[in-house]
Symmetry: C2
Subunit: 204 residues, 2 copies
C-alpha cells in the first residue's frame, strides 16, 4: 500500500472565483404566473439578450425539467411541491456554478417560491410575477391546455381547478398580457442594471 495519496486534500473553487472568471455575477431569476402568461418565452428572450451581452445563462422550464429530472412527478399538490423543490435546488447549484439561472414555472404556491428564495442569499433571488389575466391566457391557449382543463381532461390545472397564489411582494411585476415582449425584457434588464449587474467585476 502506497501512502502517497492518503493526504489528498480538497481544493475548492468557489462561486466568487467563477464569477471573476466570467467577469459577471450570477443570480436566480424566478418567473411565476399562470400557464400562458409568457414566463418561458420571456425567460428565453431575457437569456438571449444577456447571452449577447456576454453573460452565462441557462433557462430551466417545463421543456427541460418535466421530461428529465421530474419525469416521475405528476401535478398533485404534493408532486408540484416536490417539482419546485427540485428546481430550486438545481437553480441553487447553477447559481453556485456562476450561471445566471432563469427558472420559468407556474409555481403556484407561495410556500414553494419562498422555499426557493430561502435557499439562497436575498440578493440572489429576483421573483418576477408575470401578471396576465386568465381570460388572456385562456384566449391564447397555445398548447390547448385550458380547453382540456375546462373539459375536465386535465386535473389540478392552475387557475381552473387548482389555485394560483399571487406573489405578495415580488421584485418585479410585469403585465405580460398587455405589454410587448421587448418592454418586459427591458424591465428585467433595468432591474439588473440598477443592481450593478453590468458593471465589470474587478479582481479582488
Amino acid at each position: 500500500m502506497s501512502k502517497t495519496n492518503i493526504y489528498w486534500e480538497n481544493s475548492l473553487i468557489k462561486r466568487q472565483q467563477r464569477e471573476q472568471l466570467n467577469r459577471h455575477k450570477s443570480v436566480m431569476l424566478w418567473f411565476t404566473g399562470l400557464s400562458g402568461s409568457g414566463k418561458s418565452t420571456l425567460a428565453h428572450a431575457v437569456e438571449e439578450r444577456l447571452h449577447h451581452l456576454g453573460l452565462r445563462t441557462f433557462v430551466l422550464d417545463g421543456d427541460n425539467i418535466r421530461h428529465g429530472l421530474c419525469q416521475d412527478l405528476g401535478f398533485s399538490d404534493q408532486d408540484r411541491k416536490e417539482n419546485i423543490r427540485r428546481i430550486a435546488e438545481i437553480s441553487k447549484l447553477m447559481l453556485e456554478a456562476g450561471v445566471i439561472t432563469l427558472a420559468a414555472f407556474i409555481s403556484p404556491f407561495r410556500a414553494e417560491r419562498q422555499f426557493a428564495r430561502n435557499l439562497v442569499n436575498p440578493e440572489d433571488f429576483i421573483e418576477i410575477f408575470c401578471r396576465c389575466d386568465i381570460t388572456v391566457c385562456e384566449n391564447r391557449d397555445v398548447k390547448g391546455l385550458y380547453e382540456q382543463a375546462r373539459q375536465g381532461k386535465i386535473a389540478n390545472f392552475t387557475g381552473i381547478s387548482s389555485p394560483y397564489e399571487e406573489p405578495i411582494n415580488p421584485e418585479l411585476i410585469l403585465n405580460t398580457g398587455q405589454w410587448s415582449l421587448d418592454e418586459c425584457v427591458e424591465k428585467i434588464i433595468d432591474v439588473l442594471r440598477t443592481r450593478g449587474f453590468f458593471l465589470p467585476i474587478v479582481d479582488a
Copy 2:
C-alpha cells in the same frame, strides 16, 4: 386585451453558443469508485486545474447533492438508483449550460452509470474508474464509515454489505490507491488534451 404579445416567440440559446462564448467545450466527467477511493478529492483537484486554465467547471458530489436535491433519499438500492438518475439529469443540464461537470459518486451499479452515459452524446461522457483496493479505502476511512459499516451501524454500505460493480470499459482507470493526486489529475488532463479540449474554439 392587447394583442401585442400573442405572437411572443421562443428564442433559444443553444449549448454551442454557450461554448463559443466560453471559448471551450463542455463535458461530463463521471468519477466512480468505492467510498474513500478519492473520487471527490480528485474531482475538486481537476476542477481547480481547469479553472486556472480559464474553463467553467462544477463538481457535483455528496456534499452538495445529499444535503440538497437528494436529501429525501436513503441508501436502499431503489434510492441509490433514483439518486444517480437525478444526478445524471442535473449533469446533463449543466453540460447544456456549457459547464464542465465533474460528478463524483460511488455510483456502484453499472446500469445507473449506463443511464447517465446514455443521456448525452458519446463524446460528452468520460467515465473515470477510481480503482482502489477496499483495504486501502478502509485503512484511510476518513469519515469513519467503514468502521460503522463493519459494526453494522450503516446498512447497504458499498463493498461491505452492498455490491460495487466495476466498470467494464471506462474511458480511464486510475489507481487512486497507489498514484499521487497530481499523477491522477495529469492523466485526466491528458485525456482532455487528446480530445482537443484545450484547442481554442473558433467562431462558426
